[in-house]
Symmetry: C2
Subunit: 131 residues, 2 copies
């Protein structure tokens, strides 16, 4: 497949992942992740290694917020045949819209590798600028 075809596939994977977060569907969030994923998240811990630690970051997240908005603002995909990275500006906001709730612009970088013919997320980096 051409770089462009791969890029379209990757966009769909990232869009599906964001939709799964909006739906609070942890199994769908994890659908394309590697067992040995390394996650750098917005809050601590400094890093989360492995799929169980990755899952835990979402348990923490959903304990604190009900994101009605978890949206990709702008996504760039850099694709080769077997390795892809992409980066995006994102918006996360609570449905309620009250000021007590989260309303956060953040940055996302995702790295994927084709493993047994399947695009698999092996790295995610979420952050906000430090104050």
């Amino acid at each position: 497949m051409s770089e462009n075809t791969e890029a379209i596939l990757i966009r769909q994977i990232i869009e599906n992942w964001a939709a799964a977060v909006r739906n609070r569907d942890v199994e769908a969030i994890l659908a394309n992740h590697a067992k040995d994923i390394v996650m750098y998240d917005v809050p601590k811990p400094f890093q989360s290694i492995g799929i169980n630690a990755y899952r835990k970051t979402w348990d923490t997240f959903f304990a604190y917020t009900k994101p009605g908005v978890f949206d990709i603002q702008e996504l760039q995909v850099v694709a080769d045949e077997n390795v892809v990275f992409c980066f995006a500006t994102m918006k996360c906001a609570d449905k309620s819209g009250t000021t007590d709730y989260i309303d956060l612009d953040f940055r996302l970088t995702t790295g994927l590798k084709k493993i047994n013919g399947q695009w698999t997320i092996v790295h995610e980096h979420h952050s906000i600028p430090s104050e």
Copy 2:
């Protein structure tokens, strides 16, 4: 070249970049960067687009610190023929070692693309967890 050969090359590029930071050598820092690099940095701004904005992040950095330590703790490289991403835990610390100065563990993700046969950094994401 094999994935492994590319990974060795990439490690060298990232190590040279870190050494350039330690040497406060901005031209060497920029040696392998694309004109349209997109940088997500530890401090604001939210993103820096293009090589001039990227250069400016280093001017800001060097105005505030003289890093004697800007070291890769652990680096993973995921390489294909023309696209690579890598991620690392990093330590940045001032030479003086006094408590007034920066002593920071941070996370780094870098995305590279082979452009005209040269590995070129098109994306960097530096962050610390938010408080």
